[in-house]
Symmetry: C2
Subunit: 364 residues, 2 copies
């Protein structure tokens, strides 16, 4: 492991984050959940959504736009659905509650769908959909997010990288865990290229004019200042490689989250006062859980899932390739390794955590 | 309009197809449904799934692998779900019944999900999801299909172009109608390039070795003979542009259709006898319908849908672009035009329809 990294273990890291959140006035249980979501991202190799984001939550809580003891309430409820108001909670807290409700309803009535409004960034989408697997349910987790993505033929960032996560249980094989942004790349990846002064592959982003561009630093600055251009939807520029499909999936996620919950959508997630002071965010989520045995026996279903997975994995590889992956597989393997060998944290992140710890009085 | 095309009107075309199906022993109502699905594809510009496919169904019915008067039955049922056995019906007949059940259940209990097994190719996915809009429901339609697509890092066609269609009602604006294959391109598009002796964009397909390739004729032949290579998932080759995401969506559709229904999946959709004689197909579908008012008022939801659509459409265009589209918009405009001006059918298709008509005794 290079000198750039500091190895840390999941348990003390979670413990540290939990204590920081508790110092910010968050009840122990919610503080643990939030810490757990962050550390799971690092364990699964999605470090852009891991503890590197602690400062963002710390700042949000300090400024008052995120609420440590929110009044979450169910606004509307049926046997298979709920609309949950997050009350400006941390996204992890509102998200976990939302998915719990979806699971409860699915266990009782076959399906549960929960739209969550007035929430915040909830970390990795997969944390919530993974919760469904313990009960052999199919799990769904979607969220809208800050706008980095331009619509097909557009030049203005109007959409988040709005992820889709769906989990499906298997028997002997690892479960199928799709957890994908609907954009061709993430801002985190652009930042890696920028740090390495590397050019981007053409088809990831566009410049101020809405044209293909390979300069990560310029595009990141443009996204931040809303100068025009941004990340392209999955499928890339225009329609030649199906960019309109990624754009469609991106909009669909925003509809099921932002519109169905009556929260913010498109570029309306982060409102401000006329003086430019941030107001509580209008981020929204959508969770779903579906019982397999409402269609066929869980045993038979999981046996066929194993068969599907094995057939895919053992199918012929492209020349030069050794392996065909199932979704979630790489992340499960990384998680096992990092739990054993520790998580490699960037020194910069490690130092930042220590600084936050010093500010609130928690030793790392 | 070029000499290559013959203009035909939707109504007599539907009528002709219905009569052909009736001659094949299909009851009038089912014959009309099937004809309607085919002609709607032509009206919406998806001519690869239109009346050009009439011969496929004609042949399937003649050979006995498609059944004109199937015994469709509900194998398992709950207030929000059903497993429907298509009994080797035409996919359009089993599909419409499946979506009707999903809609009935959603109207009564908020959500309805129907998995359909032992069916056939059902035409355009959008036909079924569009049915949900009349009742202000969110509609979902998925199907698996014959294998043309290679998994990421694979060289063997293991997946269909498995489409996802989701419809969402709006108020003054046209509804959102996503209807997309999960592959970067369709076989129909490859055939167009092949006919025009045009090279394919790199990133659409791979050759026998699993490497990027621009020769449509060779790839079509390889797909048909299963010689290796095929169409790439949405996102293209490898993981650089998110090909693993399209691959994941493609697998997800197969899970919800083939595995959840206990039908065929991957390359198991078209079984044969040991002598190579085709057996009834194991194509499977998944339909869903969801009530908006189980979350919030339909009026408010549709008003926000209009707002989302208008904000997207009026956002800044990339230089050189005049218009940002919402999903379904192009197809609605084409449908309006073709209903007024007639559908341009390829002469080859027109002549084939006439030939089928002559065989069964129906004048076109």
């Amino acid at each position: 492991m290079s000198e750039e990294f500091k190895i840390v273990w999941a348990e003390p890291l979670t413990d540290f984050c939990q204590k920081v959140f508790e110092k910010m006035g968050i009840p122990a249980k919610d503080a643990f959940t939030t810490a757990e979501v962050l550390v799971l991202a690092d364990l699964r190799g999605i470090d852009s959504h891991g503890v590197a984001r602690l400062r963002r939550y710390y700042t949000g809580l300090k400024s008052g736009v995120m609420v440590p003891r929110p009044e979450m309430k169910i606004v509307h409820e049926t046997p298979i659905s709920a609309l949950l108001d997050g009350g400006a909670a941390l996204g992890q807290v509102a998200g976990k509650r939302g998915m719990e409700i979806a699971i409860e309803k699915a266990l009782k009535n076959g399906a549960g769908f929960v739209a969550v409004r007035n929430s915040n960034h909830y970390g990795i989408a997969g944390y919530y959909s993974l919760m469904a697997l313990k009960q052999d349910l199919i799990g769904i987790s979607l969220t809208n997010s800050d706008v980095y993505v331009v619509p097909t033929f557009g030049r203005e960032v109007m959409l988040g990288t709005n992820p889709i996560s769906v989990t499906v249980p298997a028997m002997g094989e690892r479960p199928f865990v799709l957890d994908m942004s609907t954009a061709v790349a993430t801002l985190g990846k652009l930042e890696v290229y920028s740090r390495m002064a590397k050019k981007l592959p053409l088809g990831w982003v566009t410049d101020e004019k809405g044209w293909s561009c390979d300069d990560p630093t310029r595009v990141i600055a443009n996204i931040r200042s809303k100068a025009g251009g941004g990340i392209l939807p999955l499928g890339g520029e225009g329609e030649e490689f199906g960019g309109h499909k990624g754009y469609g999936l991106d909009v669909l996620v925003d509809i099921l989250c932002g519109v169905l919950s009556g929260s913010g959508y498109l570029n309306l997630l982060y409102p401000k006062t006329p003086e430019g002071k941030p107001l509580p965010s209008l981020v929204a989520h959508f969770f779903g859980a579906l019982r397999v045995d409402y269609f066929r026996s869980v045993e038979e279903f999981k046996r066929d899932m194993d068969d599907l997975i094995r057939r895919l994995k053992s199918s012929a590889k492209a020349e030069g390739q050794q392996r065909i992956y199932i979704h979630g597989e790489k992340e499960f393997e990384l998680e096992e390794r990092y739990r054993k060998e520790g998580i490699p944290l960037y020194y910069k992140v490690y130092e930042d955590l220590k600084a936050i710890g010093a500010e609130v009085g928690v030793t790392f």
